[in-house]
């Protein structure tokens, strides 16, 4: 066990965990930020996507000891009130079916749009290909990313 001071959603949080603990479980078990989802644990599904200094990262593969001063943003911190253009576009297109993967999809999409204001279909397909949606809402996700790009 070791003590860590982390910057999560703009707040300083202290936790005491084993140094090999993935950020996914620090967020879910220690900080009760359960919007970040467990799907595979091997960076194959994207359900656990968070932002580390603004970049999309699979939190199941990021050990707490690797984080240091970096700024972590989770779905809970993407906006205070669900007003981020990507969240709003997801509502507009009524994207979710079961909804379980959507926080990860939204975190990947918002990181994409932060870098690329006007992504092409290929840009979207490439960026979003690591996020599995078992319900098959891919066409709506694509449309929502485009709407978010327009409204951002």
């Amino acid at each position: 066990m070791a003590s860590y001071k982390l910057n999560i959603n703009g707040e300083s949080r202290e936790i005491d965990v084993a140094e090999d603990t993935p950020m996914l479980w620090v967020l879910r078990d220690n900080l009760h930020l359960v919007g970040t989802k467990y799907g595979c644990g091997i960076a194959q599904c994207g359900a656990c996507t968070i932002h580390v200094d603004g970049k999309a990262v699979r939190s199941c593969q990021l050990r707490v000891s690797q984080v240091g001063e970096k700024k972590i943003t989770t779905i809970e911190g993407l906006s205070e009130d669900g007003s981020h253009p990507v969240q709003q576009a997801w509502i507009e297109h009524d994207v979710p079916q079961c909804g379980y993967c959507q926080a990860g999809q939204i975190m990947t999409a918002s990181a994409l749009l932060a870098e690329n204001k006007n992504p092409s279909d290929t840009d979207i397909a490439t960026a979003m290909n690591g996020n599995i949606c078992r319900c098959g809402t891919y066409t709506r996700i694509r449309a929502a990313v485009k709407t978010a790009a327009k409204n951002a």
């Binding site: 989802k37 644990g41 997801w90 979710p96 079961c98 066409t139």
Partner: protein, 735 residues
């Protein structure tokens, strides 16, 4: 969390309902006020009433007009949590913007058929949900009539307001709700004319949508009750093996580990139900303080396993089916005319065999459940499609009477049939009972994928006899699978062919199998519709015209009596998709396939366009015509259809579960391939038939036919027929 709130509320309603003899009396909600706080992220513009009146098990109305509607059925992503309350709200004539939806727990007194399965929630609930809303509206009208001193016939309603036109007076539902509880509803309640629907048939967003996009705790894995320990199971590495011995000393001293126990979900003398499918009743459970600590202990524990029954190989399983189909007559399920003679007389005979592998469900949220079992009580919270069956299983396994068992359903991160089989909930309960602590059982993805109730492998041989003009004389089907053939003997083309025969052959396995989205249909539709495409080609006919001529025969001179479809509606969706896809027009570089199927009481026809992009065929567009009767929520219905199409394309192209010496060869998404964003169609256009018929299934019917639309388009693109799923595994996809 909200589950707990719902649970308390549900208990309260149950007690009240019993006291009122079904229809409820007014009650004061202030006692439960704290728990009733309206979550503002669901309905930001709602204010909290100071008093609630519960009119029946589904409905409470606040004195300010806010309406709470309970959603009785498990929500797995099929959107019943929105669509079922919409039906109640329609007949209540409520203002949907003033409605709060709450998930109900298992409550067999107030609700019927709390199951997510068979695409039957709306079809089964349709009349009762309407009647529930209409009954409550009638009570409100009776109270308003008394208050205004007029007759009920003089009153009208709209969006939660009661109007008396003659005196220009109006009353909000909230103003008469507490009075309404004193009235009794008549037996016969008039329902709305569908043309007057103000909520049904209108695009309505998912009631949980705003919570989902903000990452609010909604799912079983998000349950966080005080004092809960994390539990994980270790199951045998192969089907056919069982626990021999374990050395828990190796992990008991590890950080955060509190308990290591053995459990058995099938105690001696206990009779399992259909939902108790489980290949591994005896398991090792590890309990500890955090998920990561328990995961590490799970990797470190030393367990010896031993063989119990055969260790199966998928290649042998398939070879067995091939041999049986080739060498044996199956059990005769249906015979019309004289198929043997007709085949002998035929000018041309086409015979083809189709195969598909085992599939895992792979819900994105792995299996999990919260359980707190004490000496005489069990409280469970989690994702389950069959809570009413789980209750019976728990009673038998735990030895606790049903009345002391509570089950709350969370929103589910996918179902697809996997959560019909609730052994994981029983395991959680047994672990809690054994360690005397509340636990949340969490399956890793590997646990989830390697301890499935898989879609079994199937194989079917089709045979068609054509006369010299290309008319279909005879049709034969011989199917094999687990626990039986995938063939529905009374579905199309039964009834459209004079000489017709179906034979079934059963094969065995010790691998646990069960329902997977559109059971049996998910395979047989692709086989049948691929075959018909090939037969149409052999007959020298357009594939749509060929099918339409068969439906024409089934309409005008149907063969046999038990044909399980309406040929006019079937032909209707084909004609609709033909028109919408502009079938018959040729576009350079675009290759088209068609398919149609009927299941879950609904009709679907699809045209799929493939283009060759680089070296790879790419699905560009899908046109889909659907006849599911009245569409409750078009926006969500389209989403279901789109999802079924993507799901069907993905599994037909990429997915397979195989076994070697009983051990699953796939364990996570690095070696079990699911369809991804870049492989999904660019567009899916959905067209609903508007016929005013009572609604039928929607969660499953778009999946079964799409594999054939794909195979038939691929054939046009690459000149090769596809008989073996997954198609993408064939190295020579491009011929």
């Amino acid at each position: 969390m909200t589950n707990d709130i719902n649970h308390k509320r549900r208990s309260f309603i149950k007690v009240s309902a019993a006291a009122g003899g079904g229809m409820m009396l007014g009650f004061n909600f202030i006692a439960c006020k704290e728990e009733s706080k309206i979550p503002d992220f669901i309905a930001p513009n709602l204010s909290e009433p100071s008093e609630w009146t519960t009119l029946n098990g589904f409905l409470s109305i606040g004195d300010n007009g806010v309406v709470t509607i309970m959603s009785p059925n498990p929500e797995i992503g099929q959107n019943v949590k929105t669509s079922m309350p919409m039906i109640v709200a329609e007949e209540l004539d409520a203002d949907w913007n003033q409605v709060i939806v709450e998930q109900a727990g298992l409550d067999t007194e107030n609700f019927e058929r709390q199951i997510a399965g068979g695409s039957q929630s709306i079809r089964h609930g349709w009349k009762n949900l309407r009647k529930t809303g209409a009954t409550a509206r009638n009570l409100l009208l009776q109270a308003a009539a008394a208050k205004l001193d007029v007759t009920i016939e003089e009153l009208t309603t709209s969006k939660g307001i009661i109007y008396h036109e003659a005196s220009d007076k109006s009353l909000g539902y909230g103003e008469v709700a507490s009075l309404a509880a004193d009235y009794t509803a008549p037996e016969e309640i008039k329902l709305k004319d569908p043309k007057d629907f103000a909520i049904i048939g209108h695009d309505t967003r998912n009631v949980d949508g705003f919570s989902i996009v903000q990452g609010k705790p909604l799912y079983g894995l998000d349950v966080n009750m005080p004092g809960t320990k994390i539990a994980m199971i270790v199951h045998p590495p192969a089907f056919g093996m069982k626990l021999k011995s374990m050395d828990d000393g190796s992990i008991k001293s590890m950080s955060g580990i509190t308990d290591v126990v053995k459990i058995n979900v099938e105690p001696e003398g206990w009779n399992p139900q259909w939902s108790d499918v489980n290949a591994y009743p005896e398991l090792v459970a590890i309990v500890g303080n955090s998920t990561w600590e328990v995961m590490k202990a799970k990797k470190a524990i030393k367990i010896d396993w031993e063989g119990e029954t055969a260790l199966e190989n998928s290649v042998d399983h398939e070879a067995t089916m091939t041999k049986l189909l080739a060498e044996q007559d199956g059990e005769l399920a249906r015979k019309d005319g004289d198929p043997d003679k007709a085949f002998a007389d035929a000018d041309k005979v086409v015979e083809k065999t189709y195969t598909a592998p085992f599939l895992a469900h792979n819900t994105m949220e792995p299996m999990n459940f919260y359980a707190n079992v004490t000496a005489d009580k069990a409280e469970l919270i989690g994702p389950i499609q069959t809570p009413m069956f789980l209750e019976g299983t728990l009673e038998g396994v735990l030895g606790i009477p049903k009345e002391n068992i509570s089950i709350m359903m969370t929103r589910m991160g996918g179902g697809f049939g996997r959560r019909l089989y609730g052994h994981f909930a029983t395991e959680a309960a047994l672990i809690s009972q054994a360690v005397q602590k509340p636990v949340k059982l969490v399956y890793t993805r590997e646990d989830d994928m390697t301890q499935g109730t898989y879609r079994p492998a199937y194989k079917v041989t089709y045979k068609a006899g054509l006369d010299k003009d290309g008319n279909l004389l005879a049709f034969g089907i011989k199917g094999s699978g687990i626990p039986g053939s995938p063939v529905f003997e009374n579905r199309f083309p039964a009834g459209a062919v004079d000489h017709y025969q179906v034979q079934n052959i059963q094969v065995e396995t010790n691998i646990s199998t069960g329902a997977w989205r559109a059971p049996r249909s998910n395979f047989i539709a692709t086989a049948e519709q691929s075959f018909l495409d090939e037969v149409a080609e052999a007959a020298g006919k357009d594939p749509i015209d060929f099918r339409l001529s068969l439906f024409d025969k089934a309409i005008k001179e149907p063969v046999g009596k038990d044909n399980d479809y309406d040929a006019e509606r079937y032909a209707g969706v084909l004609k609709l998709v033909k028109e919408k896809a502009n079938w018959g027009s040729e576009t350079s570089g675009v290759y088209r396939g068609v398919s149609a199927y009927y299941c879950h009481n609904s009709y679907v026809a699809q045209v799929l366009d493939v283009e060759i992009s680089g070296d790879v065929p790419k699905v560009k567009r899908v046109y889909c015509a659907v006849d599911c009767g009245i569409v409750v929520n078009p926006m969500a219905a389209k989403n279901q259809i789109e999802g079924g199409i993507v799901d069907g394309i993905g599994h037909a192209m990429y997915s397979a579960m195989t076994f070697k010496d009983g051990a699953p060869e796939q364990s996570n998404f690095h070696n079990y391939r699911l369809i991804r964003q870049a492989e999904a169609p660019e567009s899916i256009e959905v067209f609903f038939v508007d016929n005013g018929i009572d609604p039928t299934g929607l969660g499953e019917p778009s999946l079964p036919p799409i594999g054939a639309a794909l195979a038939n388009a691929l054939y046009q693109a690459v000149g090769k027929r596809f008989y073996q799923q997954p198609f993408g595994n064939e190295n020579d996809l491009l011929g």
